[in-house]
């Protein structure tokens, strides 16, 4: 792990303590043109900031545009209007400062799990041997030390997701984009992975955009929970700061009474929204 950190060349050792803006979406609007014909306005113009060292969760009804926003931030999708700034610079092309854990399986099927993790370092010049060693460490950290030599199709859904997690984290990117990273994991593994993530995050002030459907998880991990309305024309309709003390433990924090108050407040807003999507869709 230390090895990995040492190797990441673009990592400034002493970050200023001021809360610079890591990600800034400015009036970002996304419309999909469906096979050259109909236009579907997925996301209405949205502005939104994540500061350095901030952990922001995004929750919202299914299909509201969470993944779409992450794609825009990653530079994989050009917004139809508005723009994205990364550390104050306008994004054109790929966002090379972030790591992105995709919602779908994205492992290279022709590489073993270990190689899939190691390649993330090799790409940036780490010698293969060192990279493999670091990768082995990470496979252990996500609970898969015994599955290093497996190919993707020989792993269970939750195991694949964890390999993906290791693949993203090993690079220690300054911005983390995570799309339902713990979706196919059981509750306990979720908490262990949550703590792992929190630990890393605390170490070097990453900015995190974290999409989840588990509101408790969102509250337990984040500094802010952003709520999106149902699509089409989804907007940010709520932005709740989570003022729970740090450091937190992803499991224990749920016993905090403050946690429950927050949960109830956010949940009430969310439930209304989801009901709306459902009715829209069914019409």
């Amino acid at each position: 792990m230390e090895m990995a950190a040492r190797r990441e060349p673009s990592r400034p050792s002493a970050e200023p303590e001021s809360a610079a803006t890591a990600v800034r979406l400015d009036g970002v609007k996304v419309s999909f043109v469906i096979r050259g014909a109909a236009v579907f306005d997925a996301v209405a113009p949205t502005s939104f900031e994540v500061r350095e060292g901030e952990f922001v969760s995004i929750v919202g009804p299914t299909g509201c545009g969470k993944s779409t926003l992450l794609n825009v931030t990653a530079g994989l999708l050009k917004p139809s209007a508005g723009h994205v700034e990364i550390f104050g610079e306008r994004l054109a092309g790929l966002n090379r400062k972030s790591g992105y854990l995709f919602q779908q399986d994205a492992l290279m099927p022709w590489k073993t799990a270990l190689d899939n993790v190691a390649i993330a370092l090799e790409v940036h010049g780490t010698p293969r041997k060192e990279a493999l060693e670091a990768a082995r460490g990470w496979m252990g950290r996500v609970g898969l030390a015994r599955f290093c030599e497996r190919y993707a199709h020989e792993l269970s859904g939750g195991q694949r997701k964890r390999v993906g997690l290791a693949q993203v984290l090993i690079r220690r990117p300054r911005i983390l984009l995570m799309d339902e990273p713990f979706g196919p994991l059981d509750a306990q593994t979720r908490q262990i992975m949550g703590n792992l993530l929190l630990g890393l995050w605390a170490e070097d002030r990453k900015a995190v955009m974290f999409v989840t459907h588990d509101l408790e998880e969102a509250i337990a991990l984040s500094d802010r929970v952003v709520i999106m309305s149902a699509g089409p024309d989804a907007r940010v309709i709520g932005d709740h700061p989570i003022d729970l003390a740090r450091p937190r433990d992803a499991a224990e924090i749920r016993l905090d009474p403050k946690f429950h108050a927050l949960h109830k407040r956010i949940w009430d807003q969310l439930r209304e929204e989801v009901a709306k999507t459902y009715e829209e869709g069914a019409r």
Binding site: A74, L76, L94, N95, R96, S98, G99, Y100, F102, Q104, D105, A106, L107, M108, P109, W110, K111, T112, I119, A120, V123, H124, Y151, H153, Q167, R171
Partner: protein, 264 residues
């Protein structure tokens, strides 16, 4: 495992026996006064077999075989390397691909037989003009497949690799190349045969040695037995090359899900 492959071999031999049986009967037993496979055009299995043995025993065949083998391998290697390289290049440079698309297709449609004199002009009478002929066949098969293979890369895997910070070269090596491999191998199985066809046709059109020369010589004097013996040696020989390709394929594609143990 053992039993299964023995059974397979038995079935393969059976097919050969049936085919040769039909050939034998067709060429030696008249049906309603006519031969289904007149000997003048088809020879007989026994004659062909004897000729093959004779060719090998007399040692005459080796020199020809060696020349044809060299030409085939060179055509195969150069053609597929070119197909892979240009295929990848075009797939990654959509503008270039779009501009050259019609020309590639035009060239692919030129009859190779007509091009032979030009190859001889440029490359002389040695093996290279035959290699060139083979290359023009192999290249296109591989090219079109690699081009398509690269375009079929899973978009999520590709995005993931790009987010990882891969350069174009790294993408090639770690994503496009492995992903296009099964396309490539599919085309290689076709091209092995085509490389040989190119070499033989080249020899057929002008040469002093090689299997194509043997066949051509035999054809002019109605020596169908010689023609068939040549073709037989030819095809036995392509199996060997194809088997090598399959070995490489197995090695490179170990990551593919196989039909699962006991998958129904």
């Amino acid at each position: 495992m053992r039993a299964a492959s023995l059974k397979l071999l038995a079935l393969q031999v059976l097919v050969a026996v049936v085919a040769i049986g039909i050939w034998h009967v067709g060429s030696s037993v008249p049906i309603a006064g006519k031969y289904f496979l007149p000997e003048f055009f088809f020879s007989t299995p026994l004659d062909v077999f004897q000729r093959v043995v004779k060719l090998f025993v007399s040692g005459e065949i080796w020199r020809h075989l060696w020349i044809t083998l060299t030409e085939t391998l060179l055509a195969f290697v150069i053609g597929s390397a070119g197909g892979v390289a240009i295929g990848f290049w075009f797939a990654r440079q959509p503008l270039i691909a779009a501009v050259f698309d019609p020309y590639v297709k035009m060239v692919n449609a030129l009859p190779r037989v007509v091009l032979a004199p030009i190859f001889m002009l440029w490359l002389g009478l040695g093996i290279w003009s035959k290699v060139a002929l083979g290359v023009t066949l192999v290249f296109f098969v591989v090219f079109f497949n690699v081009y398509q293979g690269v375009k079929e890369v899973s978009p999520v895997v590709l995005s993931n690799a790009r987010m990882m910070g891969m350069t174009e070269r790294q993408l090639f090596r770690h994503v496009y190349w492995p992903s296009a491999l099964s396309w490539m191998f599919s085309s290689l199985h076709t091209s092995v045969g085509f490389a040989l066809v190119g070499a033989v046709v080249g020899e057929y059109l002008g040469s002093a040695a090689g299997l194509g020369y043997l066949i051509h010589e035999a054809e002019g004097v109605f020596d169908v037995t010689g023609v068939f013996a040549g073709m037989f040696i030819l095809s036995a020989f392509v199996l060997v090359i194809d088997w090598l390709v399959t070995l490489v394929e197995r090695r490179l594609l170990v990551w593919r899900p196989q039909a699962a143990v006991g998958q129904t």
